[in-house]
């Protein structure tokens, strides 16, 4: 026992000495990069890399970046923004939520002179807010949350329901059984909104379409998600889609000879049955954040962008019989002529939610019973963000 402690002490002493020897010059470096903000008031950097600014951006991801899915798309966005702005970027992945490791990673980046920190998982939100308070000279952007401040902390998310609507059109055209299976993660407004938009899009092509939903209570669990997908196939679905981070649903679709609509990224390389997918593209948004932060004129906002902003989109499959209609809808969403949730909306039980003008005919509450809309209100963002009901044609419970 004494021997063990002694040898560890010796090792520690050696390590400490080496660290002390190496430490001094590195600290000098770190000191040099402190407080060297980009001069304010310059014009916004043009595309193509200025490289003159001292801005450095760091990205924190919750899981390995892999080759498809949420974290992969953030890394694509990072690379795209780096190329567009010339701002140096770095990332760490596999950082668990609510852990000291997240704090360590962010602090390490800040100590290394990074002055833009982008955190890409929901439960990073509180810690990011705290760092923003403690480091007023660093710009923070949190993805998929709702907190922000007035100076150096904003949030970003996308109106994924827009491409979901178009994906629903493609799905309906591909279905012969008039039944589409939807493997869904959690019964939260984001997912419910996507299911409703998808269903409305499908019904725009074929009013008889039904969309069956199975909840997995997972974001990434290929086993559970594959089983859910199989259950939907067994119930007669011949098109599957999902709101998850794995491609398990696609693999089941391939095996069953069904059609697969993906999510997050182009999954044609991974899934044979792949038709198309609503996808994220963080490059435009990250380019905007990096260039404004580098120019010293970052303004925090609660950014909820759509297809028009480039943060979400969908590839129109050329072979689809409704390709022309999908293109048309995409264009009219971009130029603001069409909104996914406009006009009359009927709830799952057949009762009306909105009239033909898109105004509520019932009072709406979120899943906690908080009021989110009263009779006569337009179906605004507040209602979308608290959406807790299914539209007609969805099979399953919106309560999860």
């Amino acid at each position: 026992m004494k021997r063990t402690s002694r040898m560890l002490l010796i090792l520690l002493a050696v390590l400490a000495m080496m660290a002390a020897a190496c430490g001094s010059d590195d600290e000098a470096e770190a000191g040099g990069s402190e407080g060297t903000e980009a001069p304010g008031g310059t014009e916004a950097p043009s595309e193509g890399g200025e490289g003159a600014s001292d801005a450095k951006a760091a990205f924190i991801m919750v899981a390995p970046i892999g080759d498809a899915g949420w974290n992969f798309m953030h890394n694509e966005g990072r690379l795209g923004a780096e190329e567009a702005t010339g701002v140096e970027t770095a990332y760490v992945d596999s950082i668990p939520e609510g852990s000291a490791e997240f704090d360590n990673a962010v602090q390490q980046f800040i100590d290394d002179g990074y002055n833009i920190i982008i955190t890409t998982s929901f439960n990073y939100m509180d810690a990011t807010e705290q760092f923003a308070t403690d480091n007023p000279d660093v710009v923070f952007e949190h993805i998929s949350g709702f907190k922000m401040n007035d100076t150096n902390f904003g949030n970003t998310f996308g109106r994924m329901y827009q491409p979901r609507y178009i994906a629903g059109m493609a799905a309906a055209a591909a279905s012969e059984t008039n039944r589409i299976g939807y493997v869904a993660a959690f019964a939260i407004p984001e997912v419910i909104r996507g299911i409703n938009a998808f269903t409305l899009g499908a019904q725009a092509v074929n009013p008889d379409i039904e969309v069956e939903v199975v909840w997995t209570s997972t974001w990434f669990d290929p086993g559970v998600e594959g089983n859910a997908a199989q259950a939907l196939i067994d119930n007669g679905a011949d098109v599957l889609t999902m709101h998850q981070d794995s491609t398990a649903t696609g693999e089941v679709a391939t095996e069953a000879g069904a059609t697969f609509i993906g999510y997050h990224s182009d999954m044609s390389a991974q899934v044979d049955a792949y038709l198309t997918a609503p996808v994220w593209d963080f490059t435009p948004r990250y380019t905007e954040i990096l260039s404004s932060a580098a120019a010293g004129n970052f303004t925090p906002e609660s950014f909820w962008g759509g297809i028009a902003d480039g943060i979400v989109d969908i590839a129109i499959p050329d072979g689809s019989p409704v390709a022309a209609e999908m293109k048309e809808v995409r264009e009219s969403i971009i130029n603001g002529e069409f909104d996914v949730f406009e006009g009359e909306i009927i709830a799952q039980d057949g009762s009306a939610i909105t009239d033909a003008d898109g105004n509520l005919v019932v009072d709406l509450q979120d899943s906690f019973g908080n009021d989110i809309g009263a009779v006569g209100d337009a179906l605004n963002d507040g209602i979308l963000l608290g959406m807790s009901f299914f539209v007609e044609g969805v099979i399953g419970s919106a309560e999860g």
Partner: protein, 358 residues
Amino acid sequence: MRLRLERRDRPLRGGQVRAFVVGVLIAFAVGAVLLVLSGHNPFEVYQKMLDSSFGSWRGLSTTLTQAVPLGLAGLAVAVAGSMGLWNIGAEGQIVAGAIGAAWVARLGPDLAGPLLIPLMLIAAVAAGGVYALGPALARSRLGVNEIITTLMLNEVAIRIVRYLQNGPWKDPTANNFPVTPELPAQAALPDLFERSNIGLLIAAAVILGFGVYTARSAWGYELRVAGSSADAARYAGISLKAKIFTVLVLSGAIAGLAGGIELTGSSSRLVEGVGGGYGYAGIIVAALALMRPSGVAAVAVAFGAVQVGGLAIQTTGVPASIANTLQALILFGALAAGVFGNYRVVRTAAAAPAGATA
């Protein structure tokens, strides 16, 4: 010619230190090859690892903060391990401790910090102990293997958090995201220096206290006797059943404390990942400390430094896969060294029967 391991009559004196240093050095050398092959300068990378973990007050404080849950989890495993029991469930007990602490915060959100924090930590200790009750009873009364029961309960603990955040403890202000509410601000452990909070002092007191107590007291001696020979223990009048029960519950309680300190120290709300893998890392810490509570503190600090350094080099562009491989190499080198302190490699004739080489 075949090689086989033969137990030394007695552990090598200077040999063990040598083996340990050589083991870690070999790991660094292999790691250097890996780094060169992936296009990184190993000297820069190792310098960054050292600098980030020990090179400044902030680095040292980060390392020590990381060592807190590692050390407590390692102690939990080592306390059980010193009497030959395997508590693989520290991860779940950490989560249970965090649930217990979060529950107190729900019950008394308006209590003053100096009252609330101790209550949360006491609840964490109790919850960790209670979570180990089942395996402790099953092992001591029925002889059910504690490795299986404690391991399986890890997954259960995470599911309980998932249930709480999707159901009864769901935060009504979180835009319907399935998360538990934020803890009250006064539930955060007060800062000590740089990135460390007073959880460091609590953990140090518990780990060092247990180290001295198990090494010096009759209780600790009985533990080791029971661990090395059940018959000898019985002959000496030690009640094995009671001992097994107490030690497993104690082990769970220590892990529970780690959960309480993690929740109050570095988390703003109870989340699924609160265990952070520390329960599993604690098994490695305990193994490196040769299952002796007195060795846990030093190992935890060294392990914490490796983790902090491993993360820091990722911020300089070393991919997580390489950084994790490096960490694993260092730990493996250190663990393997422990073996060569007690065993030596001997050659045997090729003609030796296969059975002899087992």
